[in-house]
């Protein structure tokens, strides 16, 4: 059985410079390069789509002011048990 992810990460691909620090920082390793270059020519980061815990560490590891927004699921979320 699957439960919804506790967190969600949104990446502003125009602000991201593709430095990849967030890939390293992400504990569940759910951040990676996206498919396309942004208008400035950087291959920006993208969320893999599942597995975010909403811990927020990527937000602090990211050098860009607003490239990363982290959200958490409302209410108590039970893990797989």
């Amino acid at each position: 059985m699957t439960t919804p992810d506790r967190g969600l990460v949104l990446i502003d691909s125009e602000e991201c410079k593709g430095c990849a620090l967030c890939f390293e920082a992400c504990p569940p390793k759910v951040l990676r390069f996206g498919e396309l270059l942004n208008r400035y020519g950087y291959r920006s980061a993208a969320y893999a789509g599942a597995g975010c815990t909403g811990c927020g560490i990527c937000f602090f590891a990211c050098p860009e002011p607003g490239a990363i927004t982290v959200l958490r699921r409302e209410g108590r979320v039970c893990q797989n048990n």
């Binding site: 969600l8 125009e14 909403g54 002011p65 958490r72």
Partner: protein, 486 residues
């Protein structure tokens, strides 16, 4: 800011409100800061912005941007901003904090800025215990200018100015700023943190917040040194650069708190209230609280007095010039006074340039005077030639020295001014006899302006009286043509 509402989810971390929504430096770069990918400045900026948001101080924060890569910090922080000369952030921060005590002043500096050219500023601001917050970014290099050696460059590190690696016999050792400042008595909080890992970054966030919170609480000087990656100059990718901070930089610059007196620091006495602009004339002792210049501003009269006063140190050369300038100011003229003297307090050469003008003064330098007051022979010899034809020359002596008599195109007034001053009470007031002669001969300024200026300059009643008599003696020397009695 885009609407990030997603049903079932709450935003927990987003762009801090203390950042501007867009980067306005270049129209075509509105989504991007000017920093390189993976730059430590970006992370440090974010930690500061988050702390400002959390402490609710955005509307009273003043960020002092340095010279260096972070010179453009004011394009990103939606706070008060001042960008200052290289290394001078602590001095400007001091001024802002003292004149606006309620503001939260954050000096943001790199290692070239703080530890090299600004070493004196930071040392003395810390030693004075200025209640400011300093965020010190240590990446061991001059990033903006292309990677020269900084005081914090590691031993053996290759830079453009240490192409064979930093050699301690040639360039010395890395400067440990936190340890140095923690040896002072006044700082309240000094901590070194890093940006080398998640754990280090979160610890840095705590330290930055604490350093700012200290100021909110009214405690003293707080500094956080942040070991920061510079991927571009280090020629590494951002992840490698971060790892270098974690594994290499910390060996030279150990992390930790070097000073924490946040609990025991005594409360600072409240800063004296800053006076209102309108109160300043009264504080300066000006009658009726009004500016004398505004009250007495002349109209229509065009004057341009360019005065050179010269003599030896101790003759009152500079004071003569000051009295003249102050009296001129009192009379509503534009004035300037520029002293020029050697290091000796007595007997060196001394001269000053004074301008009194009905128009704004372009330069305080007087290279071609129309008035020369020469208090000794060397001064006359030195400054006579450039006096304009038709100008006035006052010389402290009876005989015009050989070689100086050829200027027939100037008004020459040679009198024994020191002797006249001695007869009037004290030979040391010869400067005032010369001033009296100047006023009498040229009508440059009204007597009461000069006396008012003199009263402000001379606090002793005895000397004021001596100077008044000397002024009168100088006037008489012109009108009656008093000559040396021998």
């Amino acid at each position: 800011m885009p609407d990030l509402t997603i049903p079932g989810y709450t935003v927990v971390h987003e762009k801090p409100r203390s950042f501007y929504p867009v980067c306005e430096r270049k129209p075509e770069m509105q989504h991007q800061t000017h920093y390189c990918p993976g730059c430590g400045h970006g992370i440090a900026h974010k930690l500061i912005a988050v702390a400002i948001d959390e402490l609710g101080i955005q509307d009273r924060t003043v960020l002092i941007s340095p010279v260096g890569c972070s010179v453009f910090a004011y394009y990103y922080f939606d706070t008060g901003n001042i960008q200052v000369a290289h290394g001078r952030a602590p001095a400007v921060a001091t001024a802002v904090k003292r004149s606006r005590p309620e503001s939260i002043v954050i000096a943001y500096q790199g290692d070239g800025d703080l530890a090299a050219i600004g070493a004196a500023e930071i040392l003395h601001a810390a030693n004075r215990g200025e209640p400011i917050t300093v965020i010190f970014i240590n990446n061991g290099t001059y990033g903006m200018t292309g990677g020269q050696m900084a005081p914090t460059t590691l031993i053996g590190q290759t830079t453009t100015t240490t192409p064979f690696g930093r050699n301690v016999w040639n360039e010395g050792y890395p400067l440990h700023v936190s340890e140095l400042l923690a040896s002072l008595e006044a700082p309240v909080y000094v901590e070194r943190v890093g940006l080398g890992s998640n754990k280090q970054i979160m610890n840095a966030a705590r330290a930055v917040r604490r350093a700012i919170e200290n100021q909110v609480k009214g405690l003293g000087f707080s500094l956080v040194e942040i070991l920061s990656p510079c991927p571009t100059i280090w020629k590494m990718n951002p992840v490698e650069a971060q790892r270098r901070v974690l594994e290499e930089t910390v060996k030279t610059f150990p992390l930790g708190q070097f000073r924490d007196r946040t609990k025991s620091a005594p409360a600072r006495p409240a800063a004296a209230p800053v006076p209102l602009f309108a109160e300043i004339p009264a504080i300066l002792g000006l009658a009726n609280g009004a500016s004398p210049a505004a009250k007495t501003m002349r109209s229509g009269e065009t004057i341009d007095w360019r005065v050179r006063v010269a003599g030896f140190g101790g003759q009152g050369v500079l004071m003569l010039g000051e009295v003249l300038a102050e009296a001129g100011l009192d009379a509503g003229f534009e004035v300037s006074w520029l002293p020029s003297y050697g290091p000796e307090m007595r007997s060196g050469t001394s001269n000053c340039h004074v301008r009194l003008s009905s128009k704004p003064i372009d330069s305080p330098l007087v290279l071609h005077p129309n008035v020369l007051l020469a208090m000794n022979e060397p001064s006359l010899r030195k400054f006579l030639a450039p006096v304009e034809p038709g100008g006035w020359v006052f010389y402290n002596g009876t005989e015009i020295p050989q070689g100086c008599a050829g200027r027939l195109d100037v008004h020459f007034i040679a009198r024994p001014f020191a002797e006249i001053a001695g007869n009037a009470g004290d030979a040391r007031s010869a400067n005032m006899t010369m001033l009296g002669a100047l006023l009498e001969a040229t009508g440059m300024l009204a007597e009461e302006r000069v006396l008012a200026a003199l009263r402000r300059r001379v606090s002793s009643g005895h000397w004021l009286e001596v100077d008044r008599r000397a002024l009168d003696g100088g006037r008489e020397a012109v009108t009656k043509g008093v000559r040396h009695e021998s």
